[in-house]
Symmetry: C2
Subunit: 145 residues, 2 copies
């Protein structure tokens, strides 16, 4: 019944974030050992479902703070929706366009050769490989315009 709070609290402390009730609750939902891809909305729903009183605005704040602290990584695959990944190790993604689902791909499963040099005055931040897939399509019928 009582999952330990200590690990989440430590995690936050180590990240330099105050372990407030809502941050601890969110951290416990997020960092349970499995790799998750969450949208603010879904996390908020999960928190509420778990009986945690937290506002959506606080969830957004927490997600950004966690990201800034290196506990999460933001994944951009869909304009108009942000996903946060609990896997902060270098890796890539499958994105199932039809249902907005993400799946990790270990970095070593994608061979990425030499990368062209960044434009002048800029430095490399990250390389994101997104493999977009979709439910297999019938042999699509013609459409007019």
């Amino acid at each position: 019944m009582t999952r330990p709070f200590a690990p989440a609290i430590d995690l936050l402390r180590r990240a330099g974030l105050r372990p407030t009730r809502q941050r601890v609750a969110l951290a416990r939902l997020l960092f349970d050992g499995t790799d998750r891809h969450v949208a603010a909305d879904a996390l908020h729903a999960a928190a509420v479902a778990a009986g945690v009183r937290v506002s959506l605005a606080t969830v957004y704040n927490a997600l950004h703070q966690f990201t800034a602290a290196g506990l999460l990584r933001e994944v951009v695959v869909d304009p108009g929706r942000s996903y946060f990944d609990t896997n902060t190790v270098d890796h890539h993604h499958f994105y199932v366009e039809d249902d907005g689902t993400l799946a990790d791909i270990p970095a070593e499963d994608v061979t990425l050769g030499a990368i062209p040099p960044p434009p002048a005055g800029t430095e490399l931040r990250r390389v994101d490989v997104v493999i977009r897939v979709g439910r297999r399509r019938g042999r699509g019928r013609a459409r007019k315009n």
Copy 2:
């Protein structure tokens, strides 16, 4: 003074789209031979600046119709803003995070080895490689929380 309209009209016709005044005007702005990365907003502004009477809603419609017709490709690099690329040939991107700028990278400049098989029931749609770069940072000072 009079840039030819015929090419744009043909382009639209071939794509199965009615060459209406606004679609022709937008096509002429977009397909001038160079590779462009536009957001709806910017294209609308450009059209208005060029003296074309067109509403933002129509620009959105046109961009999606052009994309569906294969004349454009949507590039997702920023949650909350859609970019459309006039280069529909297979290629990748640099994304300068600090100023929201995109630059093309020819497909052959990125070596992509074997790709893991798509999740069950799905088929490959596209592989996007986004190399995120940023203005070179000073040696960032400490921040607290």
